[in-house]
Symmetry: C2
Subunit: 199 residues, 2 copies
């Protein structure tokens, strides 16, 4: 409850549903938006409508893009024979910021979880197996978070890929126990990729 006009309360309620913003910071953000109407509020509303109209999931890898295939899957330069498997798009962006990986990605959209009833199909794992067959892949690099669910998922994927006879590696050195990729600096990610080991 903000005690402001209905329109403004509605906007605060929606803003408060964003990760990282509670009710108080949502109120602060909305007041800032109203104060910076032409510099921030209108451009933000426009940018959201543009993204709502254009953003879509890549049918091949699950990355976010603006066409059926994302920029990375559409680029022949990225056809190196390597696929880097990540949990979500934020992790893909973290890998790209590090700038050391030149192949393509596969975005799981989460990890296996008995508790949340997330199975292999929800994580595009059958699609990964199909890609390894179809795209002349020689190595799959598992860049999953160093959490229990992340590592369980990594081992499950390694098992599924074993019959295909390709290298399956995982980021190793540099990823702290319990650490999440999206929090790491570029150097740590680079070191972890260079020191990757066979599973």
């Amino acid at each position: 409850m903000t005690q402001g006009p209905r329109d403004i309360e509605d906007l605060i309620d929606l803003m408060a549903r964003l990760p990282g913003l509670g009710p108080r910071s949502a109120r602060r953000a909305v007041l800032q938006l109203i104060k910076k109407r032409s510099l921030l509020l209108i451009p933000l509303a426009d940018a959201m409508q543009t993204v709502a109209a254009t953003a879509r999931e890549c049918v091949n890898c699950g990355n976010v893009g603006t066409s059926e295939l994302c920029e990375i899957c559409a680029s022949e330069k990225r056809a190196t024979g390597e696929i880097c498997v990540v949990e979500d798009v934020a992790d893909l962006w973290a890998m790209e910021r590090a700038g050391v990986f030149r192949g393509r990605y596969h975005v799981l959209g989460g990890t296996l979880s008995a508790l949340d009833a997330v199975g292999p199909e929800e994580l595009r794992i059958p699609r990964l197996v199909a890609r390894v067959r179809d795209e002349a892949i020689t190595e799959v690099i598992l860049a999953l978070n160093a959490t229990i669910d992340g590592q369980t998922t990594a081992h499950y994927i390694a098992e599924q890929l074993e019959p295909l006879g390709i290298a399956v590696t995982s980021l190793a050195q540099g990823v702290p126990i319990g650490g999440e990729l999206d929090y790491l600096d570029d150097g740590t990610i680079t070191a972890a990729l260079r020191a990757r080991k066979a599973l």
Copy 2:
């Protein structure tokens, strides 16, 4: 740099300019928006455009509303002869959530600050003096933050109002030193208002 498509990078850059969101949380928020396109992204874009079209500053008190006069200034019930002076609209909302003050407000939009060259005109202080003369005001309650700038501003306002012979009080008991109103619970604000003292 996010390594995502241009439209999405633009949206992240704008989101990162909101208070409380850095680049990392802006990226997380935008991914969440894309994931919840019809439930969150489109409603949020619409709500922002509505607010951009309707929100305006009350000409009398500086509150945010949808007409020339805000709901509080337009309501005869709020003509109690008391004006509560606050630094910003978030503080006004905090007072309203406490539900204990039934008069009207005057929103300064900041505090006096030599460093930032904020003078009395920027803070609507001449307008406050005019309101005390025109609106049959009997008491001005200074509900400013317990910071050095807040208290300097309170004393300056008390001086300006002195010749008018009305009661000038300030929130006292319960506001912690260095504390900001918008962080306080309703009970603390209620106690501070009840125990207000003459300056």
